[in-house]
Amino acid sequence: MSLEFSASVTLGGFRFEAAFDVRNEIVVLFGHSGAGKSVTLQMIAGLIPPVDGRIVIDDQVVFDHAHRINVPPQLRTTGYVVQDLALFPHMSVVENVAFGISGSKGDRRTRASKLLGTLGLDGCEDRRPRSLSGGQQQRVALARALGRGAKLLLLDEPFSALDESLRANLRRELLRLRAEMGLSIVFVTHDLREAHLLADRIAVFDDGRLLQFDTRDTVFKRPASRRVAELTGVANILRGTVVVAADGRIRVRCEGFELNCVQPQAQCEEGDAVDIAFRAERVVLRRAVPAVAPGQNVFAAEIIEEFAYGTGHTLRMRLAGTETVLDAELSARPYEVLHVAGRRAWTIELPAEDLHVMPR
């Protein structure tokens, strides 16, 4: 199962352009609302024609501007689940699922019931969708989308209306279905944790443009730009200028201090303006000052603000002698073991391999 997507479109004042592909995997389209994620799904499903571009689903060209090909949604066999599910309220659950299945009436019902069984909905066949719980409705929508035998699922924030425990269950279910049925999934979400949990690869959208498309770990650890870092929840982004760059080791001067970074694939030269991004949980808190080795980033810092989230703590810290403020994240146990609450002045280390250098 594969998808090749490249398209541009203008809707009102909104300009969209993006290209990515899906190969037997879950690709998460990530971004704020209005970034172009849902529009992408609708173009794949055939509900919005792009102005330009080419879309190929499993070697079938479904859209090609140059060759004037635009296959209607009825013939594209994608399983499309919209955010509010759009279950047909005047049909029973089994009728909903059978809607997309072709064949004789009895045949369709049998296959629909079987699909409902696969999704753990035995016994719900003749109920109305609105009499089901949110999680069950979600499963019915999935079953309906799978009814036509689509191998490409397009899911538009499908779990956004559910509470967290249900979402966790459904994500697990989705991963199971994917493995069992050999599905490829394009999953739209603005939830960072959900994106991280489900994605093989992530496409980061912002304002109608695809900013980065890469494996999950790369996007989270090596954001392509300051904007991607901001969108993917990187708390600390510092401006600086490259002082030395050699053998994947980069020394960057920031305001009042210098940072050593290890980044073999970085391409920058002395004098380049760069952004340095690192996650709050990568900041290491130390009680005593160890012997500082060359290439280590060790600073004195003071806690100026503190936020408790139950599972962890975010400490806002100012580097001594500078205006630079960083966020450090600590889970509950180390926070207590270190007695962070009783002390303001700390030593922090920023591991060189966790500092990601991006061109500005």
């Binding site: 949604p73 009825q74 013939l75 066999t77 919209v82 005047h90 809607f99």
Partner: protein
């Protein structure tokens, strides 16, 4: 207190005329009953019922696609089309009758050439009655159906398309069932309006017993004729009975539709 008085006054005003009609019926002598069952009354009632039913069928067949297009597509001039369809609703029916004459009458835009070529005229035919009723009553159906379609999230049809449904199937299996009560309400309004049509029919079709004299025209005729008010009362009672029966029938149908949906 103040509100109660207002409501009571309004209610009395609405109930009194019907009370008057029914009192006449109770006091009514043999003459009233004879008039109510006369051939004039029977012909007029039959004509009214079947022309109104044909009008409703025409409104549904031609009006449903119009309502769908207005609700689901966006084209330049859509609001103009909307306004044009509402026009007969706000226009006095007599104006509609005059307008029909200027188009289909013997000196009309189309009426004149058609008569010249084929000898066919529209006046004094049942066809003219149906045309007058359709022009005046069909907009009520189109309006109601359009509102019903607009109230259904287009997302349902889009999902249906991705599930392989043609536009046709998406309409009949997904959109129409969800807009059913609005469409039924439109049918009731349209039928009632057609049953009551007087002005346009009188001007365009005339009042000929058996072919163009519908119930309202027959009542008018009776009122102006030798039997005066007695004749009008007799026919009005018949029409009131039919209207109540129809209202009750539609309620039953609508309730059944509602409980299924």
């Amino acid at each position: 207190m103040g509100v109660g008085v207002l409501v009571l006054a309004f209610a009395v005003f609405f109930i009194l005329p019907f009370a008057g009609l029914i009192t006449r019926a109770i006091e009514g002598d043999r003459a009233t009953w004879d008039l109510a069952t006369s051939s004039v009354a029977r012909d007029a009632l039959a004509l009214s019922v079947w022309t109104s039913t044909v009008t409703v069928m025409l409104a549904v067949v031609f009006g449903t696609p119009v309502a769908y297009v207005l609700a689901r597509t966006n084209f330049p001039g859509r609001s103009l089309c909307d306004a044009l369809i509402d026009l007969p609703i706000v226009l006095p029916p007599t104006v509609a009758g005059v307008a029909l004459l200027t188009a289909f009458g013997r000196r009309g835009l189309i009426g004149e050439p058609i008569e010249a070529w084929t000898g066919f005229t529209f006046g004094f035919r049942t066809l003219a009655v149906i045309m007058a009723q359709t022009l005046v009553a069909a907009p009520f159906y189109v309006r109601a159906a359009r509102a019903g379609f607009s109230a259904v999230d287009p997302q349902f049809e889009r999902v249906a398309y991705t599930l392989g449904a043609s536009r046709f199937r998406a309409f009949f299996r997904v959109l129409a069932p969800q807009a059913r009560s609005a469409m039924l309400a439109g049918v009731v309004l349209c039928w009632a309006r057609a049953m009551g049509e007087l002005g346009a029919t009188l001007i365009f079709a005339g009042s000929l017993q058996g072919s163009t004299q519908t119930m309202p025209l027959a009542i008018l005729g009776a009122f102006e004729g030798s039997n005066g008010l007695t004749g009008a009362v007799a026919l009005s009672l018949v029409l009131l009975g039919v209207a109540l029966l129809a209202l009750w029938l539609f309620r039953v149908v609508a309730q059944r539709a509602g409980s299924e949906g």
